[in-house]
């Protein structure tokens, strides 16, 4: 196999790790609260700006900047739920989509207002590793590793803890969990916080590799949507694997043609699969 192709494939898989994190977050929120955060990618954007300012402007040590960005994103998630989602919880799904759509608009405009449209980079230069004559970005490797760790941490949380099991329960039957002493509203806040934290973690990992600007959410947001639909909305495991499939397609397409056309390819693949398995690849 062509070495450059292999390199592209590996890079694709590595990127898939971060996208998988976001797919997990979006699916978690949808599975439990039944609302799709159209503005999820923009939460990531906020997180990236957070990292930028904490590290590049205020010169906090990078790990601290990361931690604060993750916590900040978790708080943002809670805020989003309280201010935007909770008022429309019982409204038609369209209203919920529009509410988060309005938030997308607001976040992008507010970021433009605060930070301008310049591209900003946190300026962390991590080495490029040479592995068997292939060049792999160390940043991307770290991102992949951390993303996997995050995914597993989430898995253990959901499987082994009381709150995690309660979260899985509430996704199956919202109404009666109160009978077991589970405060539905509090669980929603916890889930929103986790979703925000996952976005924050992804933001940290992406900040290592990409510049941030107010509209960066539009570049990977639709990709996340495709991934989640492909994996089955609400299906955490499905979304996890779909992330890698889509990332591979984008990487391979980007290798043979351009990045934008690789998105077209991914979308075509996505549409074709919608014919075959409209509920998602992995939905039984």
């Amino acid at each position: 196999m062509d070495l450059y192709l292999l390199e592209a494939i590996i890079n694709g898989i590595l990127l898939g790790g971060v996208l998988a994190l976001l797919a997990l977050g979006l699916n978690l929120i949808f599975g439990v609260i039944d609302v799709v955060w159209i503005s999820y990618a923009d939460i990531v954007m906020c997180g990236m700006y957070g990292v930028y300012f904490l590290y590049a402007q205020y010169h906090l040590p990078l790990p601290l900047a990361f931690l604060l960005a993750i916590l900040g994103s978790a708080c943002l998630g809670v805020l989003v739920h309280k201010l935007i989602i909770a008022p429309v919880l019982n409204a038609a799904p369209l209203n919920q989509l529009l509410a988060t759509g309005g938030l997308l608009f607001f976040l992008q405009s507010f970021a433009t207002l605060l930070f301008g449209t310049d591209f900003r980079n946190i300026g962390v230069r991590l080495p490029v590793l040479e592995v068997a004559s292939m060049y792999l970005s160390f940043a991307r490797l770290i991102a992949f590793g951390v993303a996997l760790v995050g995914a597993f941490a989430l898995y253990f949380f959901l499987k082994k803890t009381y709150v995690g099991t309660a979260i899985r329960a509430i996704a199956q039957d919202r109404e009666i969990v109160g009978l077991m002493g589970i405060d539905q509203r509090r669980i929603y806040l916890v889930v929103s916080a986790i979703g925000g934290a996952l976005a924050g973690l992804a933001a940290c990992l992406l900040a290592l590799q990409y510049d941030v600007h107010p509209f960066i959410g539009n570049t990977f947001g639709p990709v996340i949507f495709m991934i989640c639909v492909l994996g089955g909305l609400g299906n955490m495991l499905g979304g996890f694997f779909a992330a890698f499939i889509i990332s591979l397609i984008i990487a391979i397409g980007g290798y043979y043609w351009s990045t934008e056309l690789s998105y077209v390819l991914a979308f075509t693949f996505f549409i074709v699969l919608m014919f075959i398995r409209p509920r998602g690849l992995f939905t039984p």
Binding site: A169, L179, Q184
Partner: protein, 234 residues
């Protein structure tokens, strides 16, 4: 122990309960019988906090609990086995039981409660890792009861435990109720199967169209001509 006084409740503009009063003493087993749509499930939901009451009051062990949300009421010691079981189908049996032990006081005693529930329902122990939704109706009912018992409640509310079950299984369920009573729990059962429930409870209320029409000991009701004609087909 548990006392409702002139409780009214409904769904939006539709009123389902009209001034219901009842009392349950510690250690008793009490039944609520009545036709479909009488408000029996509504009554259960009001007691467990799933539905707010619009009028009247509710006290438990002297404390007013009317208006408390469900997740607080269970902390007082009232557990509700919902109509149609309502298990978390994709979770395993043991995970369902774990959810039942969510409240802090139950978490502390999780291991011992689990052992107790498994001793009551050995079949559940065999199927502890099985997805709850794949079990038979009778096993699911046992799981639902077990889940409620995990919080070590003082009062157990059971909403139509025999619904959708084969007669042999129904018998097993009611034997179980006797066993649970024997462990010291107070039980309130809502049932359509009048014959079986009157054999298990000490007292019962007849609920029709949202109001208590009759009440008395099980023996009295079994002998009551109206009950015999309308509900026992005799």
């Amino acid at each position: 122990m548990l006392s409702l006084s002139s409780v009214s409740a409904g769904y939006g503009s539709f009123q389902a309960l009209f001034g219901v009063s009842l009392d349950i003493a510690r250690g008793e087993a009490v039944g609520v019988i009545g036709p479909n749509g009488a408000g029996k499930t509504t009554l259960m939901r009001v007691i467990s906090g799933m539905l707010p009451l619009s009028q009247g009051s509710m006290t438990f062990e002297g404390e007013a609990i009317g208006g408390l949300p469900a997740h607080h009421i269970i902390e007082h010691g009232i557990a509700h086995v919902p109509e149609n079981r309502r298990l978390f189908a994709k979770l395993s049996v043991e995970e369902n039981l774990r959810v039942g032990a969510f409240i802090p006081s139950a978490r502390a005693r999780f291991a011992e409660q689990l052992d107790w529930v498994y001793s009551l329902f050995p079949k559940l122990k065999d199927r502890r890792t099985q997805a709850a939704g794949t079990m038979s109706g009778g096993e699911q009912q046992m799981c639902a009861i077990g889940r409620a018992l995990m919080s070590k409640p003082k009062v157990l509310l059971m909403d139509e435990p025999s619904a959708g079950l084969a007669p042999i299984v129904v018998q097993q369920v009611f034997d179980l109720v006797r066993k649970i009573r024997g462990e010291g729990l107070t039980v309130l059962i809502v049932e359509q199967n009048v014959q079986q429930v009157l054999d298990v409870v000490d007292r019962a209320y007849l609920l029709e169209v949202g109001a208590i029409k009759l009440s008395g000991t099980a023996a009295e009701l079994k002998g009551n001509s109206f009950i015999r004609e309308s509900y026992l087909g005799l």
